[in-house]
């Protein structure tokens, strides 16, 4: 479903991703872990087309996301191509980023109606279903700023799902939440992971969650995949000293 080939991303002289190669199979749940600044979030931002690669290519669903073929050459994709490719991808942000000028229901229906052309009544029906899925069916008319962080994040998850993406990107979705609100959000995500066939890429510091739901865990360091393995192996018998250190540090913290 996703393929990174030799992807390089730099911010100025700082190399964030260093000739990165990896693939993700359809329906797979992959957690990206590693120290901050190791490039995990940048991977999601590249997939969401919020950033552009400096070198290499990214494929999604067998089609090139980052480039288009023009004659013999690959050239950076134009807005039109990105617009088509973005339909397959949804993202949930650390800071929720709900639209504060719209109520909860419109936050969810706005994009399906305006960007996919779904009929408003149909979009609303679907939005109410999704609010049920995230446990907020009674908040349809609420204003986002009146909700707790955990509730806002669950609305943001519903909003991303309303676009029926093939790939869902979760960018540290519980990092901005008070500890007692984390569990509700994780419960919703577990539910989605087990009941849908969406491919999920999840950047997280919730190691227990990553261990429970992931099909595979990738440990990043300095813009490269240091090691990757099924969670039961990576969390219990990591190969690299660096991974051991990192896991010890995050687990000690609690």
């Amino acid at each position: 479903m996703i393929r990174f080939s030799g992807v390089v991303k730099k911010f100025g002289d700082h190399v964030v991703l260093d000739e990165l190669d990896f693939t993700v199979a359809p329906g797979e749940f992959v957690s990206l872990i590693g120290p901050s600044g190791s490039g995990k979030t940048t991977i999601l931002r590249l997939l969401m087309t919020l950033e552009r690669v400096n070198a290499g290519t990214i494929d999604v669903g067998g089609e090139c996301l980052s480039h288009v073929r023009r004659g013999e050459r690959l050239v950076p994709a134009d807005e039109k191509h990105l617009r088509v490719m973005r339909r397959r991808i949804g993202m949930v942000f650390q800071q929720f980023n709900l639209f504060p000028n719209m109520n909860v229901l419109r936050n969810i229906t706005e994009a399906p109606v305006r960007s996919l052309g779904v009929a408003p009544a149909e979009a609303e029906r679907r939005a109410r279903d999704l609010l049920g899925l995230v446990g907020l069916e009674d908040k349809a008319d609420a204003h986002p700023t009146r909700l707790s962080g955990g509730q806002q994040q669950r609305v943001a998850i519903a909003r991303a799902l309303a676009m029926r993406p093939d790939v869902l990107l979760l960018d540290e979705v519980t990092s901005a939440l008070d500890p007692e609100l984390v569990a509700d959000v994780l419960r919703v995500l577990r539910n989605i992971a087990s009941t849908t066939d969406i491919t999920i890429l999840c950047v997280t510091h919730e190691m227990q969650f990553a261990q429970d739901v992931s099909d595979r865990v990738m440990m990043f360091d300095h813009g490269r995949v240091l090691e990757e393995a099924p969670p039961e192996k990576l969390f219990t018998a990591p190969e690299h000293e660096r991974t051991k250190e990192f896991l010890r540090a995050v687990i000690d913290r609690r």
Binding site: R83, G90, R114
Partner: protein, 218 residues
């Protein structure tokens, strides 16, 4: 110098007529300044470099020349060059509106930049059409925040309308001058004209300031 209450009372009807014209000028000028300012602010951000360059040049040019000269140019120079004639009143509206649009453009720009980057990114992630990002996400958040600042420019504009005396618009000040010429009394009409300005702009300033505080709390 002595104050003649009778002369003052006699001057009031004409002055009020003038005040009405002043208020009309201000409201119409503001409407133009608010819309054109938004257009200029959006052009400044246009992805086509030529457009944003032209908007920048226009803004700098208008801001760097005195309003009075712009009024004269519009009134005396534009009609013979283009064959398009405007009344003094309409010239006043256009001059005030265009001049202040270059300032409201800056106000809108600041309001747009204050919308968090995450809002743009969420809109991109949801694949909203570009026009919809502006009309449904960015502007509805930016504009309420800048309304008090726009209100302040309306008050400044109100106080600058007497400048249009130069092309014969019958505003408060021009009426005061008229009364003075007829009755040979200048103290009463000019004083009252000043008082009328005060009576409108002072409460308006208080209102805008209160509004500003409310906008800050949101």
């Amino acid at each position: 110098m002595n104050w003649d209450w009778q002369a003052a009372a006699d001057a009031i009807p004409l002055l009020l007529e003038g005040l009405l014209v002043t208020v009309e000028l201000t409201l119409l000028g503001s409407a133009l300044a608010y819309t054109l300012g938004l257009v200029l602010a959006l052009l400044r951000r246009a992805r086509i470099p030529v457009l944003s360059r032209v908007a920048w040049l226009f803004i700098e040019f208008v801001r760097s020349t005195p309003l009075l000269i712009q009024v004269f140019v519009l009134y005396w120079l534009v009609p013979p060059l283009t064959g398009f004639t405007m009344s003094a009143f309409l010239t006043g509206v256009v001059a005030l509106g265009v001049h202040y649009a270059t300032y409201t453009a800056e106000v809108y720009r600041a309001g747009i930049e204050a919308v968090p980057k995450g809002q743009w990114e969420a809109a991109t992630a949801l694949n909203l059409p570009r026009s919809r990002v502006w009309t449904a996400v960015v502007l509805p958040q930016a504009i309420p925040r800048v309304l008090p600042a726009l209100g302040n420019y309306t008050i400044s504009m109100f106080k600058e309308t007497p400048l249009l005396l130069a092309i014969g618009v019958l505003d408060v000040l021009n009426r005061a001058k008229e009364v003075g010429a007829e009755t040979f009394r200048v103290v009463e009409p000019y004083t009252l004209a000043g008082v009328l300005f005060l009576l409108v702009s002072l409460p308006a300033s208080v209102l805008v300031r209160r509004w500003e505080r409310r906008a800050e709390r949101v």
